[in-house]
Each structure stands twice: as C-alpha cells, then as structure tokens.
Symmetry: C3
Subunit: 470 residues, 3 copies
C-alpha cells in the first residue's frame, strides 16, 4: 500500500452492526467545533501568524512523541534538529524528514502513526505513504504548502474549526499575546491562558529564586517572604482570570498535600533563600504549596488540573545536552486516594472548587479516579494523557472509569499538544474512540442508541465546556 | 426511547455466532436458584415480613451505590433521605425519587443503571424510562405495589428464587432472627449468619471497648484479657456455626498478619484498655488478630472471607454528619502475596482452612490472587466486588484470573448488597457476563460449548455451594 | 466432545472478516522455524538423545505449571512424582497421569490446557480427550511412541523445526554438552548457553560460598576477593561467548542497581565470607552486582535479560520438602522506571548495551516498560512471561506496549520452558495471538494488511534474531 488514505471507518468495531452504530454516533460529532481546554501551543504563533518555516521544524523536531521513538531506534537527537548544549543542529529539514520517513514502519500501531496519517492527508493533502523513496517528495509538498497563506496559523485555526484553545503560561507572563488576540477584530477564536505555577512550588529546584524575582516583577509584590509569594500568586491568578483563564495546571511527582502553618512556611521560605533548607523542608514546602493551590482554586474558581506521576528528565545526560521535554520523562506509579485526602476533606464538597485528575498510570482509573469522581462533586476524571492518549487506552479508560463515574464526571478530551497541526487528528481520534466505546454499550443493550448520541455530543461539547468553565 | 425494556440479549457479544453461543450458555442458568453467600440484608426483614414503606426508603436512601453518584452531581445527602447528625431528612419519598429520576442520564453506562433497569422492569413491572416527567408516576406505581402482599419480603424472596441468603452479623448478635426463620415452617429459605468480627481487631478504634463489653455479655466470658477475647470469639463462632453460619467476613485496610506471643498480646490488650497503647502496639495487635482469625478458621472450618484495601470514611465531614457507609469509602492499592505469606505458610495447605480473597484493586487479579489460588488449595479468587462488580470488570476478572486459577478456584458470584430487590438483577448480570466470557472461549476454540455449559452451571451452583460450604 | 481436535482457527477473532485476516497473517508464519532465545531445556537431553522414560516424567512431574494447579485442587505433590525430602515418589507414571486426567476439567480456560491439547494431538497423535476413563489408554499410547526413534529428543528437535535453542547455565558450567553438540556433524541445530549468575549476587544466601568455590575452579581465578569474583565472572562470560552465548539472564526480587566503590564492595565481600555482613551490606552488595552485570553487558555485548518481581519459595514447608521451582514462586508488585535509573543513565544509550525487561506484573507494560523501550535504544519490552504467557495476556501486552514502543522494540516470543515437548505449542500460540492482535489493527484501519504481514514475519524471525543477537 503506497496510497495514504485514512479509512473513514477507522477505529470503529469489527462487527458490521456495531460498526454501523459507531458510524452514526461519530457522525453526530465529526464536524463539531474543537474545544481544546489544555495544550501547549504558544499564543504568539497565532498573534504573529507567520508562515511555518519548514516541515521538520513544524512536525518533527519539537514533538517529543516523535523524536523519542526515533531515538529509541538509534537516531541521535542532534540529527533530529535539537540543539546540543546550545549548539544548533546541522541537520537540514530534509535530512530530519528522511530520518522520520525511514522509520515510518517503526511507528506502526502507535498513536503517532495514526495522527500523522490523518494530519498528512487531511491538513497537507499528502497522498503517498512516507518512505525513504518518497521522503524528499513529501517534504517538498508540505514545504510548498506551508508557504501559502492558507497554511498560516490563523487560517489553519479556522480550518480546524477550533473554538477555544487554551495555552499554558507562567504566572509571570504578561499575556500580551492573549490580550492582543482578544482585541483583534480579525481573529474570532478564543485563546485562553492557563496558569501553571509549578516552578514556584519547589524551593529546592534550581530556578526557584529566579522565578520568585520574575513573579515579583510581574505582580509588583515582594516575594521574599512566603506571604509575599502567596499574595503575588493570587494577584497573578486574578490577572489571568481577567485575561480569560478558566484553569490552572499543576504537575507534581506525587500529589500529597498538607498545609503548613504560616510561620513554618515562612521559616522554610527564608531558609531556602538562605540556602539552608533541608530536604525535609522543601518536601513539606511543596506539599503545602499544593494545598494552597487547591485553597486558591476553591476561592477564585480556576479549575485545578493535576498531573502527577512523571519522573522528569530520567536520562540526565540527555537532559544536560538537549534540555527538558526531549522524550525521557517517564511514568512511575501513581496514587490519589490517600495523598489527596486532606485537600478533599477541606475542599472536596466546596461548590467553587473543581479538580481534574490526570494520570499516566492506568491502574488508578478503576481503583481511584473513577471512585473519587463518583463521590466528590468537585472531582472529574481527566482524559487519558500523554503515553496513554491512544485509541486502545481510551477504550480501557472508558471501561474502567464509567462504572463508578459515568460519563458526566469525566473531563472530555484534552489534546495536551505542542504540535498545532495534530490538534484536529487528535480530537478526531477521541471522537472515534468514544463512538466505538458507546457502540459497544449499545450493542450489548446497556444503552439505547438515542441516549448514546446525546452522550457523544455531550462529551464533545457540553461536558468540556462545563468542566473547564469555558 | 421512553419504553423501559431490558433486552433479552443484554451483555452478550456483538458477533452473531458468538452471541448465539452466549444465549445458549445463559439459558443453562437463567432460572437457576440464587445462592447468595455474602450480603448485607437484615434477617429481620424476612422475619418480620412487613411491607416496605416507600420506594425511596427501599431503593435510594440506604444504597450508597446510588447516593454517591447523586452526591457527585451535587445533590446533598440530606436531600436523599439521610439523617444529618441524627436529624431526620425532611425530604419526602417522592422528592428523593425525583432527584434520582432527574439524574437518570448521569447513571448511563454504570452498573447501577443496569441493575435498576432490570429491577424496575422485572420486580416492579415499570415500563417507562425514569425522567423528571415520569418520576411521580413511577413512584406511585412502585408504592402501590409495595403495599400488596406479593411485594412483601418473603414473597419476593420466593419469587426471586433465593435458596440461600447469607447475612453479615456481629459476633455479639443473638441471631434470634435467624433462629426464628429456621424454625418457621412457613418459610423454606435458608438465611445464614456470617461472623464479622472487624470491630474486635483494633484496640485503637473508638468502639473497641464497647464491643468487648457486648461480646462478653453475649459469650458470658470476660473479655478484659486477650485470652478472654479469644475465648469469647471462639465461643461465638461455635454459636454462629450452630445457627448455620458457614463463613466469616473480615475487612481490613491491609492484610498483613503476624502472630504475637500471648504475653505480648496481653500486654497490648491491657495497655489499650488503660488508654496507653501506642500506634505500633495497635498495629501489631491488629496483625495478630488477623492471624488468629485465620487460625480459628483452620480449626473450625468457617470459610474466611478477606476484603482489604478500602479507606473507610475518606471524607471526614460527611462521616460526621451522615455516618459510615454513605459513599466515601474509597479504594487504595492492595497487596496479598507478601502480607499473607505468614498465614499461608501456616495454614495454606491445611485441609480445613479456606480463604476467599476479594479486592477493589484489579491489578492483583493476574498478579497475585490468580497465582495464589493456583497453588494453595485453601485459596479461592473472590468475585469482583463493590466498585468493580460490573459487566466490564467481571470480564477483566475472568480474563485475568482464569489463566492461573481456572474456573474452579474462583468463588462464584457474591452480590454483597444491602439492596434486597437488586439481588436477582445482580445475579442475572453475573450469569450473563460469565456466558459472554465463556462464549468468547468457545468462539476462539479454547473450550468446547458442551464443556462451557458445564462450567456455567458449576459457576452458578456447584462452585459457590462448595466454596462456601453451603 | 471426546474427540481431541485442536481447531485450525483457534485464538482467532470472532468476526468473520477479521478472522479471515488473522488466518492469512498466521499463514505467513505458521511453519516458520522456531527461534527460542530463552528457555530451560538441558543441553544434555539433546547430546545424549536417549528415549524419554515415561509420559508422566516427561510431561507432568517436572512442569510446575501443571503440578501447581493440581496441588491447588488438593493433589499432594508427592503423588505427582516429586521426591519428598529426597525420598522418591512411589507413584507410578500411570498413577500420576491419572491424577492429571481426572483434573482435566480444572484446567479449562488455562494456557496449560491450551498447550496440552496442541501437544498431545500434534506431537503424540492423541485423538481423544483426557479423562479418568481414557487415562490409561492415552498414557500407553504416549509411552509406546516415546520408545520409538522418531520421538527421541533430536528427532523431535528437527520435527519441531527449532533453529536456535538457548539453555540456561551456571557460569561454572563446563558447557561440555554445548561444545559436543556444536562439534557433532550429525546435529544441525544451534544450542546456545545463557549465562545466569544469580547465585553470585547475594552474599546472604545459603549457597553463595559454594558458588564462589565452583566459579573459582571453573575460571581458575581466586574468588576470595570481590575483584576476583568480578574477574572470574568476566572470564566465564568470555568462555560462554566462545561457546555461542549471546545473552545473560538475571532474576532479582527488585531491580534497583547502585554501584559501590571497589573498597566498599571488597569490605562487604570479606565480611560475608567471615559471616559478619549485615542485611544492609548484602542488599548494597546485590544492588552493586546488578549494576556490574549491566556494566559487563555494556562491555561484552551479551544481551541482558532481567526478570524481577517474583517471591521465590513463598510456601516454606513445600520448599523444604519438595525443593525450589515446585509451583509456589509468586508474583509481587514490580517497578522499573525508578530502580533502573542509574543503569540507564550510565548505559542506556550505549550502543553495545542491550536490556530486555520481563515482568509478571502487567501494570508496568503501559506505565513503564513501553515508555522505557520507547526512548532508550538499549531497552526492549520482553514478551509476557510465566503467569502471563497466555493468549489473553499477550493481547493485553500488545495493546499496552505498542502505543509507546511499537512492535520493533519488543523482544519477540520466548517460551521460557523446561517442557521440551511444549515448545512448538507455545510458539504457535504466540503466533496466533499476534495474528489476532494485528488483525484487530487491520480491521480498525490502523494498519494495512500488507504491513501487518511484514510485522508478523518480523516478530517471528527478524526481531528475536536481532534483539538477542542470534
């Protein structure tokens, strides 16, 4: 097969009758607008609206989903365009693309392959399968299109039918791009900032002191004290809310949260600035900060997204050479029921508080996340994320979570991507996977097809809109 | 669809040929008598045989499977009939029922919805789908039926074709109701007590001292010493056996068991009564008691059921207001291989000893429970329980456990319910799920259909009868 | 059904169109040569090529997959031919076989049943189902065949179409059998040793001192020092390589690896020989040895196979009476991401280093093994092993691992068996399971059938050949 032709029935069940049901359910949402409440696209991309430079820089180099598997097959990251200790890569775009093409078969069965097929075909009109032989040809076709106005970011945003796109932003960010986009009468989309304050949590981390300074500047509040830091964070949350933010995002290794007294928090804050904080101190400080983030969310209503369980920078030599987010963040066991108990005791039934739980450890779906979302009004079961953002894992997630939380206590799909052009492929995958799951419930007579149609529309629109307060 | 019509093929596989096999296998057991070796119905219900008061009090308020998801959607427990710090709810039955009806769609895909459809239709003859519009009408129909003699507990017991129903009882219980039922020539069912001695295990728990007193009264043995407690428990086990008990039930957070010397156990017992036991003391005491429960089971032959891994009363404010068993018991990670090693070394190959392992953490099915049941003659893999007592989880359980334990080392279905009217729906679900699983093995030629028919009959009758020594 | 007729379509999906695809994919590899890079058959079996003594001694007594489930159903191990504290069993082969036959139904749905059906039918020409009635007849048929030249080990080796068979050998082994087989012009198969140095890792274990002595003799290097032990191990690795070895095998309870300084390792080595090493010492020593095994693998290129997570000899009384490997090794929770970090930081991107990760805890497939194999060039996801070497678990493994590692970073099938006659049945099962999984991807249009055909050929041939450097 050298024709690249994504099948209109892809991801639908094998049984013909069940497949027909899936087809009809998918048709309900196939062209629905995209709500993307969690992602990592830069707002400046849309503000500046410049042509993408080249296919590799757009689709390969920055996407660690792609580069990690190429690396696993022996391609050095430096040959994929990543700067090595700041020294730019000498690989040309066509070279990089050829690496990808020559490993096309190694992606068989992976979601990256699935997204790429859709994306190459639907976004760029590619009709042949990537291979060493076709590599330069396909590269040239994409490059040619990228130069045209119809492939500029805003045109794609419109063509992708994106209604809401949330970005991820540091509390010290000016949000100038978001403000300019909102003020621009020629741009109809909603691009919302998301408040991500991870780097203020850990006084043991390298960048903490610099982060405090940047935050102090942004908020015009001294962050030399713990009280100042809290005040500055609250100030910036209000600023984010004023610029359209509806949510925060927090990534931690483990989600235990325990409040400290202000005095104790001040003591550790001062010790950390003095360079005398112990490891136990910084751990206690982090757990207090996670508690405070929940407390703030219960006050101001920003939806709290929590992503625990990933060991960042697992391979130190790669981290040193190529920096973070280069494919070696790796999952560890996760736990929620016990570590979140304090937060949930204090805010779990608070009407303002909302907590969306994500995991890369699937074992918690039926054991913890589903049951928590099935009791606490504030808790929602986040869509499968990162390593498990795949057709097979979505099916396992639905099967595991629905039993105790149903559909309406799940978050709706999030694409979580920095690969702008993969957004429609990812949302389409999710809609198809949900159609397949619902078709299974209809076929086994656990659900009527009319009700399944309502549910898939809700999952695509009403639920993410409501969960993320869009 | 406003007609409530549970499909006769529900839960069967999609493929027509496979579905036909499932139909035939299900037909083997569709009308078989119900053996319910583990549940929480009160024996007095059948002794007194009074009409149920109203639909909400029967079907909603006491069923935390139902109230927890309504709570998750923002309905306060007080509006569902639960007393708040002892103050009765002011909600009428029809009000409560309306809450349930208005959230009918939020139960889509959950086992609660599945059971209710069967129960409303088959037990109460309801033919329309619950909704805000139909709520009062359905409520009135059920209420009208409840007033009739055919819907009294004993009539339903007979209609449900229940042969054996095990209750759960405190060792200090007089078992008067069980004795009276057994002596009643007009009642043919077997209602058996189950010995649940959790509250005697933990000298750090609030009710321990009162429990000792009640037990001392029941056994007429002083429980002021550890030796006295052990003697009283043995005495009451004999009493339960004399009243038909064949099993005990034990719920613990973690199932580690380690014996103490008598002297050490006496020391902690005395310290606990004096209020001076340390946390390490009470932990050691609990682990010793779990060991002693196994030791007693190896002596007297009561089947030991073990249910670890649930954090009880996760949300303290709800516990304080509405009491235990109100939907916020939540699962945590479970482990068996290591914690049970001492018990299994000492009693695992004892012919009298029998241990049925239940879990709410599915990860242990293929990793621990299946392998343990596949070596130790005493160990049986308990059916999926509580949060995972669902069609999808039953399929995962069978798939995970059969590999190393086959079918004959599983326990057979337990309904574990306090919702009397859901018993037939739950057993029917299990029979259908097993038929579907077996049809899969037949279709993939791992099993002949004739052998599958024997297995489903065994799972429904011979196996639970044998495992629970009924 | 009393006819034993393994269906040609077994393990293929239910849907007719999907089943056709699976049939065609399976046909690509149905008769491909067997590469068995990991197993426990003794090389002397092939060297000596004597007739197998009797069916029970061949198929029941030494196979703990079989004896464990019989034991779980109450058959004492002594009645299955196992020597009890060195006293030979008095059970006759026919007696033992009758135990197995009478429990045939208890194996329904298990992989043991599946393998036996294929093996009895295909290898021994048995056409009736085992039962108490048929037991002696089947036993006699097998016994009669075993006496014939066509059932001698080498004839079967040829008939099974085994190209490569790896054994598992102690570093002190002379490898005489391997050398003689390689030199024998009448034997065309490749029988390769595998270096298994577990017993040199743990200075706290009973046999450590004797192992050091045996190794010193084999290598002619004094192992009284740590440096000597390391030198002797390197010496024997070279010896193994010279005799065709391409891999090592290492089983540990937990895979944490941390290097010690030579001085510290020498200190513990000496203390252990003097009987004064603490538990902390022996733990540190074990972790250092695991690190050194990786270091050696990065130097000499022997593929490192790691099998953690099994508690050996869980039931001490059985261990004392019947010895190790008698069915009571039991799985515990496993973890890789964190414990392997040090090894992977130091050798993970080394071109010579290769690490194949196996697990009996399925939860790590999507959470740890897939993601690790999807970044580190050195890491491969080992096939499901031991308790999860089953059709259902293979499907779960493929589903969980493919998302982040694709197919080409998996190991290919290993049979890991000491049951020589089950080898073709096991490989056939794996090929069918892979055909079924791939047919699912084709049916849902995630993969073209032509590409799936390439993949199944690769999984059966190119991948194991490449991963294990055969």
């Amino acid at each position: 097969m050298t024709q690249l032709t994504p099948n209109p029935d892809r991801l639908f069940p094998a049984d013909p009758a069940e497949r027909d049901i899936a087809r009809r359910l998918y048709a309900e949402v196939a062209t629905a607008p995209i709500l993307s409440p969690h992602g990592h696209v830069d707002a400046n991309l849309l503000l500046e609206n410049e042509a993408f430079r080249d296919p590799a820089e757009l689709l390969i180099t920055p996407d660690h989903y792609v580069t990690r598997l190429l690396h696993a097959h022996g391609v050095p990251l430096g040959e994929l365009g990543l700067a090595d200790r700041g020294v730019p890569s000498s690989a040309s775009g066509a070279d990089i693309w050829r690496h990808f093409s020559s490993h096309w078969s190694d992606f068989a069965g992976t979601p990256v392959r699935y997204w790429f097929e859709t994306e190459l075909h639907d976004v760029f009109g590619i009709t042949e399968v990537p291979s060493v032989e076709s590599s330069d040809r396909i590269y040239a076709q994409i490059a040619e299109r990228l130069a045209r106005p119809e492939w500029r970011p805003r045109a794609l945003f419109e063509r992708f039918n994106i209604e809401v796109l949330a970005t991820t932003d540091d509390p010290a960010d000016s949000l100038d791009a978001h403000r300019a986009l909102a003020a621009d009468p020629t741009f109809a989309g909603r691009v919302l900032p998301t408040f991500r304050a991870d780097r203020y949590m850990d006084p043991g981390a390298a960048g903490w002191r610099d982060a405090l300074t940047a935050l102090a500047d942004a908020a015009d509040i001294d962050t030399g004290t713990y009280a100042g830091l809290i005040a500055a964070l609250k100030n910036r949350r209000e600023y984010f809310i004023a610029h359209g933010a509806t949510a925060t995002d927090t990534g931690v290794l483990e989600p235990t949260a325990e409040p400290l007294t202000t005095a104790e928090a001040e003591r550790i804050h001062a010790a950390a600035l003095a360079g005398t904080a112990s490891e136990a101190d910084t751990l206690a400080y982090r757990r207090n900060m996670l508690y405070r983030y929940a407390e703030m969310a219960a006050e101001d209503g920003l939806v709290m997204q929590l992503h625990p369980g990933v060991i960042r920078g697992h391979h130190a030599p790669t981290l040193e050479r190529f920096g973070p987010d280069t494919g070696h963040d790796l999952p560890d066991q996760a736990s929620f029921t016990r570590p979140l108990r304090r937060i949930l005791q204090d805010f779990g039934t608070n009407e303002t508080f909302r907590l969306v739980l994500f995991t890369v450890d699937e074992t918690v779906f039926s054991r913890e996340i589903g049951p928590l979302a099935g009791f606490y009004p504030s808790v929602f079961a986040g869509a499968p994320w990162w390593f498990i953002d795949t057709p097979a894992a979505i099916a396992r997630y639905r099967s595991a979570v629905t039993d105790s939380a149903g559909f309406a206590k799940t978050s709706g799909f999030i694409d979580d991507t920095r690969a702008f052009c993969s957004i429609p492929a990812r949302h389409d995958m999710s809609r198809r996977a949900d159609a397949a799951f619902l078709a299974g419930l209809v076929t086994t007579h656990q659900l009527g097809e009319d009700e399944a149609a309502v549910i898939i529309r809700d999952l695509t629109d009403r639920i993410p809109r409501s969960v993320f307060r869009l």
